[in-house]
């Protein structure tokens, strides 16, 4: 079986219309399960693999790296750098670490992670900011394409585009709730399409799948909605094999929704979308990782998985990423 392939912006590269999210991969039961998820995803037709330097304190990248041994050329590999306003040298250090963990000498796409604060664009483009690292890494052949991602506010994305940096790709939340509330779909997507940039949708199920649990949308409706937008791929998290199987089925049988069907889903969600109750990544810090919070002087959350892992590291178990007791 295969799933539809689409053009990655104007690069000439083709990628799968469904992408596998790196954060949830690190939430898999164990390393063997994570490797199995990656292998079955590749067999099912997924070529786009998402990751990030800070996901699960490196575990997400390490597990994906192990899973991709001997299969690196079959996939389009993305990871993200977590400078959050800090400088180019730090970005280059993170790049080397990401490459090591992912067992590869190059990334297909390297993105600025978590562009979520109003001054991120200005800190990115400043002299000695992360923009310089992106350009340098591309020049050195360590990365093929460059992009950024964020889940907070459309105006911050637009400011990133206004820096004039030659991005190849942009990632953002796209789902039926976003469609009518502080909307990336309305405010950012058309501009990216116009410029021919590759668009990577994320949070098709709004991050933690609350509207699905509450019966407001089916997984099929939500995922098909996101994939029917003018995007290159839609990243979704799959920490279990049965979730992978369900999503592969939807993607393998994918038929775009008609404009009328899209409208009807938007209408179905509109009143519940209006206060952001299902999009906590826009109005709270729940989805902001400790690296982002630290760099911007916000308090970290002791209940967050990454923070627990960070604290456990001080116990020096000898493991690179200690298991977090839940």
């Amino acid at each position: 079986m295969s799933i539809p392939m689409r053009g990655f912006g104007k690069t000439g590269v083709q990628i799968s219309a469904l992408g596998l999210g790196g954060h949830h991969l690190g939430d898999a039961k164990d390393q063997d399960t994570a490797i199995k998820i990656v292998h079955e995803a590749i067999d099912g037709g997924i070529t786009f693999f998402d990751n990030c330097w800070e996901y699960n304190r490196g575990k997400s990248e390490s597990w994906m790296g192990k899973a991709l041994r001997g299969k690196r050329e079959k996939v389009f590999l993305m990871t993200k750098v977590c400078t959050h306003g800090r400088d180019a040298a730090l970005a280059m250090e993170m790049l080397e670490q990401s490459l090591n963990r992912l067992h590869t000498d190059h990334l297909d796409l390297w993105q600025i992670h978590g562009v979520a604060f109003d001054n991120d664009p200005e800190l990115f483009i400043r002299p000695n900011g992360a923009a310089e690292a992106l350009a340098k890494a591309k020049e050195q052949g360590k990365v093929r394409f460059l992009g950024f991602t964020g889940h907070k506010a459309p105006h911050i994305h637009l400011q990133m585009l206004d820096t004039g940096f030659p991005f190849d790709a942009v990632q953002m939340p796209l789902n039926p709730f976003d469609a009518t509330f502080q909307s990336f779909e309305q405010q950012v997507l058309p501009r990216l399409n116009q410029r021919g940039l590759a668009v990577i949708g994320m949070k098709p199920l709004t991050g933690k799948g609350e509207p699905l649990k509450k019966g407001i949308l089916t997984p099929d409706q939500a995922l098909r909605y996101a994939m029917s937008l003018p995007v290159s791929t839609t990243i979704t998290g799959m920490e279990k094999l049965d979730v992978l199987h369900q999503n592969l089925r939807i993607a393998q049988n994918f038929q775009p929704l008609s404009p009328q069907e899209m409208d009807s889903i938007r209408e179905q969600c509109r009143s519940l979308a209006a206060d952001g109750r299902f999009e906590h990544y826009k109005g709270s810090l729940q989805f902001d990782n400790p690296e982002a919070r630290w760099a911007h002087h916000y308090p970290i959350d002791p209940e967050q998985k990454e923070v627990k892992e960070m604290l456990l590291e001080t116990t020096n178990t000898g493991r690179p990423y200690p298991e977090v007791p839940s």
Binding site: L272, S284, Y298
Partner: protein, 357 residues
């Protein structure tokens, strides 16, 4: 009757609009207009008996004179000992402060109860404001809350009744829906239970502007105003000129970040923050005070208040600009930290203990 006596409910003629409009033109062109330039709100000495009393200003188009410092209601409920709250209110009144903020939902009513007790026998010396916490619900809920607030505050009228915490994207729509809380405000005013009506929120200037875009006779509006707000998602830039143009009573809040974060982080001194907020064209600056130490600190600033010059204000804004850029000293705008549980419940959000920030 002395000048400081606040009479009960009565009709206040609307003030001359043109005067306010001319002032706003200046504010729009110059960014922040300072108190020094704002003859409409020129401070006058308080008629209170105290020596060196806190100065007073005209309160928008209400005809009232209000002290430049107001006492925040939330923090009255914070000290474990209610006697501290009473002492704060009494000392504030003695110093010439006459504005007291509150809300139906602060500390499950304890803040209103404490203020009510503290004002016993001195109700007529105070401008009492409280807020209604419908958070999208209709006017029946609002009127029940009004009766509870009046009873807790031991009074038969409020000087100001405001819609609390207008912070969610769909709040304006729900407030002005048929049978919504906006109708309750008008009814309560008509019944003489409240003299003036308004709204408040700490989240987003665009939500305030949508509230003001309705053809509705708000007398007052409350918003965060501080030297960080001045350059970040700015109520000062976007909302204050509109409110001034309408000659509304503007109630500034969160002059030090909501919980003093701007001071405790070492970014500014308390007197810098308070003086900046009080130097804007506002009626009063509401300050949360939970100890006699903070009260005396803030009273000292208010008593000796002289407006900052335009240059001083600009210099402070510049000093704060870089730190203001990601909103970490204004967490009420960028996180859930300052959003109350009752509003969260009405809007389908988890409570603070599950989603603290």
């Amino acid at each position: 009757m002395t000048e400081s006596d606040i009479p009960g409910p009565r009709k206040i003629p609307r003030r001359d609009f043109m005067k306010g409009a001319a002032l706003t033109g200046a504010a729009l062109m110059g960014g922040a207009m300072t108190m020094a330039q704002n003859s409409n709100t020129q401070d006058t000495p308080s008629p209170a008996a105290a020596e060196n009393p806190v100065p007073r200003r005209k309160m928008g188009g209400t005809g009232l004179d209000v002290s430049v410092l107001g006492i925040g209601g939330f923090h009255l409920g914070t000290p474990p000992d209610a006697a501290i709250a009473t002492e704060i209110v009494h000392r504030a009144l003695d110093a010439g402060v006459n504005f007291f903020d509150n809300s139906w939902e602060y500390h499950e009513g304890e803040s209103e109860i404490r203020l009510g007790n503290a004002l016993k026998g001195r109700r007529d010396k105070a401008i009492v404001m409280t807020k209604v916490c419908t958070h999208g619900r209709g006017k029946d809920v609002a009127m029940r809350m009004l009766e509870e607030s009046l009873s807790r505050l031991q009074t038969d009228y409020l000087d100001f009744w405001q819609i609390h915490e207008v912070i969610y994207g769909n709040d304006p729509e729900l407030i002005f829906a048929p049978g919504g809380v906006a109708e309750a405000l008008l009814d309560a005013k008509k019944q003489g239970k409240v003299r003036f009506i308004g709204f408040t929120g700490h989240k987003d200037p665009s939500i305030h502007l949508r509230m003001l875009s309705h053809d509705f006779p708000f007398d007052s509006v409350q918003m965060p105003l501080n030297c960080f707000d001045a350059t970040f998602r700015s109520f000062q830039q976007q909302v204050l000129p509109v409110a001034n143009k309408r000659n509304m009573a503007v109630l500034g809040m969160k002059s030090l970040g909501g919980s003093g974060e701007m001071v405790t982080s070492g970014s500014i001194l308390p007197e810098e923050g308070l003086r900046y907020a009080m130097s804007l064209p506002v009626s009063t600056t509401i300050s949360g005070i939970d100890s006699l130490y903070v009260l005396e600190q803030n009273l000292a600033v208010a008593r000796g208040f002289t407006p900052m010059s335009a240059d001083e204000m600009a210099a402070l804004r510049d000093k704060c600009r870089a730190l203001a850029g990601d909103g970490h000293l204004e967490k009420f705008k960028t996180t859930k930290q300052y959003d109350g549980d009752i509003g969260r419940e009405q809007h389908g959000y988890p409570p603070a203990k599950e989603l603290p920030i």
